[in-house]
């Protein structure tokens, strides 16, 4: 009988295995995709789906359970913010595995783990998949207004006050901190256009602010 035999051992002790998958699931949520061997990829699904299930539950206990696995506090907060919007309609099976081919060196089969849905998010854009996703509603609004401008450049000036407002809320300083540095990259390159388009972007920022506050209220 093969009862109670879920999961793979991967020739590792349980502590080694646990440490490894904690690292991997953290990387997966940080970067949105992870390249690894087929066997590890298949096991990683279990960890990732569990975290998203916790994030969708969204209460304090779930958050602490997720913190016990994911090694990055900011990522946990971002995940809990975005999970219901992104995965609310799906019941399990949040991850997708696509085979890449054989690894040079040991010819191990390598595959890519990423998340289902979110295809409308532009893959080429840099930044965390979650930040890309949370910025999605805004990016759509921006696209309708001015199709050429990337979502990145809309961020820098206007979001600073929003971020501070978020910081005032006791539970999380984390997401605000992460947003700030990522968005500072843009303005140096394109200061002039950013100033020209300032009024349009302010509207967008105002639209976004109440949405974020609502999410905080839910938690």
């Amino acid at each position: 009988m093969r009862h109670q035999k879920g999961g793979v051992k991967l020739n590792r002790t349980s502590s080694h295995r646990k440490a490894m998958f904690r690292n991997m699931v953290t990387s997966l949520f940080e970067n949105g995709q992870v390249k690894t061997t087929d066997a590890k990829a298949k096991e990683l699904r279990r960890w990732a789906d569990q975290m998203i299930t916790l994030a969708k539950r969204g209460d304090l206990h779930a958050r602490r359970q997720a913190m016990a696995v994911i090694r990055n506090k900011q990522v946990v907060h971002k995940l809990f913010e975005a999970a219901n919007e992104r995965f609310g309609e799906i019941n399990g099976g949040y991850t997708r595995i696509t085979k890449i081919g054989m690894r040079k060196g040991d010819a191990a089969p390598i595959s890519l783990v990423d998340f289902v849905g979110g295809d409308e998010v532009e893959k080429g854009e840099k930044g965390s998949w979650l930040s890309r996703f949370t910025a999605l509603g805004k990016a759509k609004a921006d696209k309708e207004a001015k199709p050429a401008a990337p979502a990145k450049e809309a961020a820098p000036v206007e979001e600073a006050p929003v971020a501070e407002a978020v910081e005032a809320a006791p539970a999380e300083e984390a997401p605000a901190e992460e947003e700030a540095p990522a968005e500072e990259e843009a303005p140096a390159e394109e200061e002039a256009p950013a100033e020209e388009e300032a009024p349009a972007e302010e509207e967008a920022a105002e639209e976004e602010a109440p949405a974020e506050e609502e999410e905080k209220a839910k938690e």
């Binding site: 696509t98 085979k99 890449i100 081919g101 890519l112």
Partner: protein, 58 residues
Amino acid sequence: MALPKHKKSKSKRDKRRTHQKLTAPNVVSCPQCGDPKLPHHICPSCGTYKGRTLIETD
């Protein structure tokens, strides 16, 4: 102890090895770019699978 009485001839050795052969990998052409790729795998030349671009290729 049992020991071989005679050395196996080159012919015997080579006949034994006639069944050792490699099989060619099944290759299909990518629906996106037409380059050869493995079935059910991301295309190494354009980085797409089932219409989605998953890895960056230059």
